[in-house]
């Protein structure tokens, strides 16, 4: 968290010597607060001031990297409690957890490898697969971890509180250290050995403890051992308590700049009811977890979670846009209607959704309006007759359909004439609201 000018001023020598090039220490403090100067210009700065300013410059939540190469994810470095205040920066990792005493563990690893879905042009899914030590058999554990590494679809996570097992697995599994697994992990008993291993192999370390105070006592000790890539597991008796703890950790980091809790978090959704597992996990996606672990590898569990994450980690400051081009809804033919709209993602998805609901196949011309909705684009001249005519021409519709009729949004009915003149197409004015599209489309073809 950044310091205010007055907080910085209190740490300066207050001699107003002017050596820094600024007449007073207060003016210099204001420059420091605005990051327009560095403390190096001050000849009399104390070590205390240097340390405080350096700490303030660090991000309040450490960025943690899990995995390597294409499979690497970054979590942490968050700056806000609510996405509208700025944005959520590093989407949480989604992790499928497989116990090593499951007879079909190999199959599950295979299945987890398929948990990738294409959605709005992104590949979304589970980036992590955890092998959890329950069998007590080091060979079995290593064998499964090796299967995750070999599968090469996701980064491994090792779940065990036994440091010897972690060490033997690193020795047994080729390429494991290079894959930079998350080791989960350290607790009040084993933290010293676990920290040594994490430091030796340079891998991130999960830390769990009974309550946030105990957690805050552990992390500085692990940090002193040279490990700063930590992921905090606050546990919790139920989903409510876990949510409260995740919230409190984020607040401690952001509001208090409390370093011992300034790390991303991990939360587990477990249980016998696979639907409930998915529903519980959704809470941790919205409420601040850095890694969400689920016991289960069904696509219908992962798809909603990955979609929710994609939604909530969308930057609210950027108008979401889809590519401006010709889209096909259903399987349109040369007789199918042509619909025109803008490339504001919400507009596009609403329109396409409603056309799909109408079950009338159609061509959709999406005009590049810089991600603006119909009315905004019309007011800002990003959507006028010329732009629309150009878009119709560019997408090559004249070769694809045997008619020259285009449907435009009801809100821009006023430009019908100009568009007809500009494009040579006949313009039909569609509904103003997308909800009226199904009725409109069905009427059009009946």
């Amino acid at each position: 968290m950044s310091m205010t000018a007055m907080e910085i001023y209190a740490l300066l020598p207050q001699t107003n010597c002017g050596e820094c090039g600024t007449p007073t220490c207060l003016a210099f403090a204001m420059q420091l607060a605005n990051k327009q100067a560095t403390l190096d210009s001050c000849p009399d700065a104390s070590d205390e001031a240097r340390a405080a300013l350096a700490a303030a410059a660090e991000p309040p939540i450490t960025l943690v990297e899990i995995g390597s190469g294409d499979e690497q994810i970054e979590i942490g470095n968050e700056t806000v409690m609510f996405r509208h205040e700025e944005t959520f920066h590093h989407q949480c990792g989604l992790c499928v957890c497989i116990a090593d005493d499951a007879e079909d563990a190999e199959e599950r690893i295979e299945k987890a490898g398929e948990l990738w879905f294409e959605r709005i042009g992104d590949m979304i899914g589970a980036e992590l697969v955890a092998i959890e030590d329950r069998s007590g058999d080091p060979d079995r554990f290593a064998e499964l971890v090796s299967a995750v590494v070999q599968n090469d679809k996701q980064s491994p996570v090792l779940i065990t509180s036994d440091p010897d097992l972690v060490r033997s697995t690193f020795e047994a599994v080729e390429g494991l250290a290079e894959a930079r697994p998350l080791v989960h992990g350290a607790d009040a008993e084993n933290w010293s050995d676990m920290a040594d291993i994490a430091a030796e192999y340079d891998v991130p370390l999960g830390v769990s403890a009974d309550g946030l105070e105990a957690l805050a006592e552990l992390t500085p000790q692990i940090k002193d051992k040279g490990v700063d890539q930590m992921v905090l597991d606050p546990g919790g008796d139920d989903q409510l308590q876990t949510m409260e703890q995740l919230t409190q950790i984020r607040r401690q980091a952001l509001d208090n700049n409390f370093r011992p809790l300034g790390y991303p978090t991990i939360a587990f959704a477990r249980g016998d009811d696979p639907r409930k597992v998915a529903v519980d996990a959704s809470t941790y996606v919205s409420k601040y977890a850095g890694v969400v672990v689920i016991e289960g590898e069904e696509p219908w569990q992962l798809l909603p979670l990955a979609t929710l994450r994609q939604n909530l980690y969308t930057d609210p400051r950027v108008p979401p846009a889809v590519e401006a081009k010709l889209y096909e809804v259903g399987e349109p033919t040369e007789d199918s209607p042509v619909v025109l709209t803008t490339n504001f993602a919400l507009t596009y998805f609403t329109v396409v959704n409603e056309i799909e609901a109408s079950r009338v196949p159609a061509w959709v011309v999406v005009v590049d309006t810089e991600g603006q909705s119909v009315l905004t684009a019309y007011s800002s001249e990003n959507l006028n007759a010329e732009v629309a005519a150009e878009a119709i021409k560019e997408v090559g519709l004249e070769e694809k359909v045997n008619h020259r009729d285009v449907i435009i949004p009801g809100y821009i009915a006023v430009m019908s004439g100009a568009l007809e003149e500009e494009s040579g197409w006949n313009v039909t004015v569609g509904p103003r609201e997308a909800t009226a599209i199904p009725t409109f489309m069905r009427r059009l073809v009946s």
């Binding site: 398929e114 105070e213 639907r275 998915a278 909603p304 909530l312 959704n353």
Partner: protein, 315 residues
């Protein structure tokens, strides 16, 4: 090490709105804290689930949902009763659509009769939605409202463009009103101002910010809910109304719910996908501040009831 928790305290409260009368009446709102942060303030009333019932079998629903609902789907009164008896819902969300048909529309009197029958058969507080089409709705609201007069229902919805008839009707017949806004926090507030200016009491309004399902613009409504709640707890009285969200009907429009398994084998079982999609849409909005969620699938309803119990510490 001692750790002083960072606690937020708020000096303002969300309005409490009571729907229904007598023993079955349901009160929502009243929070002095962000969702489920019980250590920082009160959440005197749990969020509520309302069962969506339609006056005709919705033609866009998946077979999974129609099957899970059962044969009662063909008779809205039986459907609502099943909701009470088997799924334990505490609110009925009646969706009127047949009066807006092009051919052979239902009369306002038909609509009113149906609403009355459901109210009587279930004994539960009623939410009644129009078809979202201005003209047919304008004719139906006063008749339905009068038929349910004195039952303190929740009728909607009133928009910035058309709120007058409904507001006047709700005031006359002693109902609560849903103020609708198109994912826009300023219009949300504006509708509340317009409706209260006509004499509607502040504790008789529930806001509907219009929401998409998971994957369909959920993040917009999610942030609108969070901003609305923060503004209200910070003292903006015209934002301090309970919030209603549509989890079920919106989910039924999603490709991920509708697509068959042979179209997208990589998405897995459609029956499970549909349930989890609806339930996850609900949890997301509950975590952002929703006070009422309207839902369809009995299994999704079960999951969310359990979820609310956990998060209200009332298991």
């Amino acid at each position: 090490m001692s750790l002083t928790p960072v606690k937020k305290s708020w000096n303002h409260q969300i309005k409490e709105v009571t729907i229904g009368t007598g023993e079955s009446a349901v009160t929502v709102g009243g929070e002095t804290t962000l969702p489920f942060l019980h250590d920082e303030g009160d959440m005197p009333n749990p969020p509520r689930i309302a069962l969506d019932v339609f006056d005709a079998v919705p033609d866009t629903w998946t077979e999974d949902l129609i099957e899970a609902t059962g044969d009662e789907i063909n008779d809205p009164v039986e459907w609502a009763q099943k909701g009470v008896e088997e799924w334990g819902v505490e609110l009925i969300s009646l969706n009127l659509t047949q009066h807006a048909l092009e051919e052979d529309p239902a009369s306002p009197e038909d609509c009113a009769k149906l609403a009355e029958e459901i109210a009587e058969a279930t004994g539960l507080p009623m939410i009644v939605w129009g078809a979202g089409e201005e003209e047919p709705d304008r004719d139906v609201y006063p008749v339905v409202s009068q038929a349910l007069s004195g039952q303190r229902c929740l009728l909607g919805s009133a928009s910035e463009e058309s709120y007058k008839t409904l507001t006047a009707t709700c005031i006359a017949d002693g109902h609560n009103i849903i103020g609708e806004s198109p994912i826009d926090i300023n219009i949300c507030k504006q509708v509340n101002i317009l409706v209260t200016d006509m004499g509607m009491s502040e504790d008789r309004i529930v806001v509907f910010p219009t929401n998409g399902a998971l994957g369909y613009g959920l993040e917009y409504a999610y942030s609108i809910l969070e901003r609305t709640r923060l503004a209200a707890l910070g003292g903006d009285r015209m934002m301090a109304m309970p919030i209603i969200i549509r989890a079920g009907t919106e989910s039924q429009r999603s490709k991920e719910v509708k697509a068959k398994e042979d179209e997208f084998p990589e998405w897995g079982s459609r029956a499970d996908r549909g349930i989890v999609w609806e339930a996850t849409t609900a949890t997301s909005y509950l975590q952002a501040g929703a006070d009422i969620v309207t839902m369809n699938h009995p299994e999704a309803i079960r999951l969310i009831r359990q979820y609310i119990d956990t998060f209200m510490n009332t298991e």
